[in-house]
């Protein structure tokens, strides 16, 4: 999948991701835990056991190399579903997605981690889960450990970590992967204010001419500062796309909350 460093083959404005007329519809069980018992009961009562979710509707989107695209929208707007489609985690039910380059996702922190193991072991586990090789992790271990600021705690079991320490290590591992296309979903809200700033700076470092970044966030100020373009999704549809300030202002007006400090801050 992803490589540690981008192949440096891409030129600015070359297409990195092309999303054409993509829709995503799926049926999900109404009951949280689908079981034989629930199905049998529903069948006997003639009740519907599933509901249909239209997560994305005819989405068209291009992301170019050298650009940072911000994605905004209310909860349930389809932001995460779109990211999962681009990353190949969820196949679309209509349309076509073309991805020109290696993709790495930072959709959740600590994916693949095992809390009963030490931070050190989890650096390997998380790195391998993210598609890195053992040699690549060895080569970057010191950098990851230093960035996480865990000190000796790196050898303690992760179940003894505070949520901030957990998130710091997870972000440090994830931020080491340097693919052609990086998708970050709400991953900047980690640790204390100092670490938040540090991780935001890391994301800014990752901006380069031969890389495309897609940033999903509710942190409007971050998006205003970081992105070239912002796309606003609502109920699975693209409402608008364009210059960050314009789109964000329109979105905030839509939410009828204005540019309150609470919205502009990282959440």
């Amino acid at each position: 999948m992803s490589s540690l460093s981008a192949s440096s083959l891409h030129k600015t404005n070359e297409i990195a991701v092309s999303v054409r007329d993509v829709s995503l519809t799926y049926s999900t069980t109404i009951d949280r835990r689908p079981t034989f018992k629930v199905r049998a009961k529903a069948l006997m009562r003639g009740k519907k056991q599933t509901r249909v979710v239209n997560a994305l509707r005819n989405v068209n989107l291009d992301v170019e190399y050298g650009h940072v695209l911000g994605v905004i929208g209310a909860n349930g707007a389809g932001k995460s579903s779109l990211m999962r489609c681009i990353a190949g985690i969820l196949p679309p039910t209509q349309g076509r997605i073309e991805v020109y380059g290696s993709v790495s996702t930072l959709l959740a922190l600590g994916v693949g981690f095992n809390p009963s193991m030490s931070g050190r072991d989890n650096v390997y586990l998380g790195g391998l889960a993210a598609g890195m090789t053992r040699d690549e992790i060895n080569g970057h271990f010191d950098e990851i450990a230093a960035f996480s600021e865990l000190g000796d705690a790196i050898d303690a079991p992760m179940r003894t970590y505070s949520s901030g320490m957990y998130a710091r290590l997870a972000f440090s591992v994830a931020a080491t992967v340097r693919p052609d296309i990086l998708i970050i979903d709400e991953a900047l809200s980690t640790g204390d204010a100092k670490f938040k700033e540090k991780s935001l700076n890391r994301v800014k470092e990752l901006r380069s001419d031969d890389r495309a970044l897609i940033l999903v966030s509710h942190a409007m100020q971050t998006l205003r500062e970081t992105c070239n373009d912002v796309v606003w999704l609502d109920k699975g549809k693209v409402i608008s796309r364009g210059e960050p300030n314009q789109v964000i202002d329109a979105y905030q007006e839509f939410l009828q909350v204005g540019k309150s400090a609470a919205i502009d801050e990282d959440v």
Partner: protein
């Protein structure tokens, strides 16, 4: 060097491109090993006592059956005891693969929702763990066999292909049941009863040759029957197993493996919305 292009389009039921899938699975082999190791460490198998437990557990298990067969049952035939331990240990390779495989996909929810990888890696990892737990029982078995004076012959090497067939069967079963569990989460609750029934229907507490004619159909309907019978012939009696039994076991294992893999691969792309 050209830019790698990935195309994601709707899929109907069917298999993904197998070459690409295998390549992706192979590139994740280090992760499979590390993931399995971490699961074992979580169960403390990396500590001295944990590793001792890997040997003590099968010893205790065989001790229970020793009490049942030799002491309470009053049999003087030590070969029967060797047969019981040998086949029981192999049975537990399959049973452990099933019990750890059944929730392998559902417990890998975070990985599935956030990373693109071949999902079959998860039940595969469960079988790796079961195999790791099985290996110390081989040593226990050899010690028991030596103590009771059971013969060691060159025909015992038949155990190797039979073990490979068993691993293939365990893989097929783990892959199938992990996929079923995505749609019916209570399958894990039925599993202990199913494996216990399979234990009694397999030639473990008895030998295939002692089966009443009316029950011989078990030989054909139970995939483990020919495998355990061949395993016992090779390891316990030091004889070549019947080729028909080995082939029957291979047929079952291959059939279940291909069925399970097809079922899993044709479904795995919707796991992310089912979890």
């Amino acid at each position: 060097m050209s830019t790698p292009l990935q195309v994601y389009e709707p899929f109907k039921a069917g298999l993904p491109k197998l070459g690409k899938y295998w390549k992706s699975l192979w590139s994740r082999r280090t992760f499979i090993a590390e993931h399995s190791k971490s699961e074992l460490r979580e169960q403390h198998y990396d500590s001295v006592f944990g590793q001792m437990w890997l040997v003590i557990n099968p010893l205790l298990l065989s001790g229970v059956y020793f009490i049942l067969i030799v002491i309470i049952g009053g049999t003087t035939d030590t070969t029967r005891y060797v047969h019981l331990t040998g086949t029981l240990f192999l049975f537990y390779l399959v049973s452990n693969s099933l019990s750890s495989g059944v929730k392998s996909v559902t417990s890998g929810q975070r990985l599935i929702l956030n990373t693109a990888f071949p999902r079959i890696m998860l039940p595969l990892s469960s079988v790796v763990i079961a195999l790791f737990k099985f290996l110390p029982t081989v040593i226990v078995f050899i010690v028991i066999k030596a103590v009771v004076g059971s013969p060691f012959t060159i025909q015992m090497l038949w155990a190797l292909p039979i073990l490979l067939i068993t691993i293939l069967l365990a893989l097929g079963l783990a892959i199938t049941i992990s996929c079923i569990n995505v749609y019916f989460r209570d399958i894990a609750s039925f599993l202990p009863y199913a494996t216990r029934t399979l234990l009694y229907l397999s030639p473990i507490l008895y030998e295939a040759s002692t089966l009443k004619p009316g029950l011989l159909f078990l030989e054909y309907v139970n995939p483990l029957f020919p495998i355990l019978d061949s395993w016992s012939s090779a390891l316990v009696y030091g004889q070549s197993p019947e080729i028909s039994s080995v082939l029957a076991g291979l047929g079952w294992a291959t059939g279940i493996f291909f069925f399970g893999t097809y079922f899993f691969l044709s479904r795995e792309r919707e796991f992310a919305v089912r979890l």
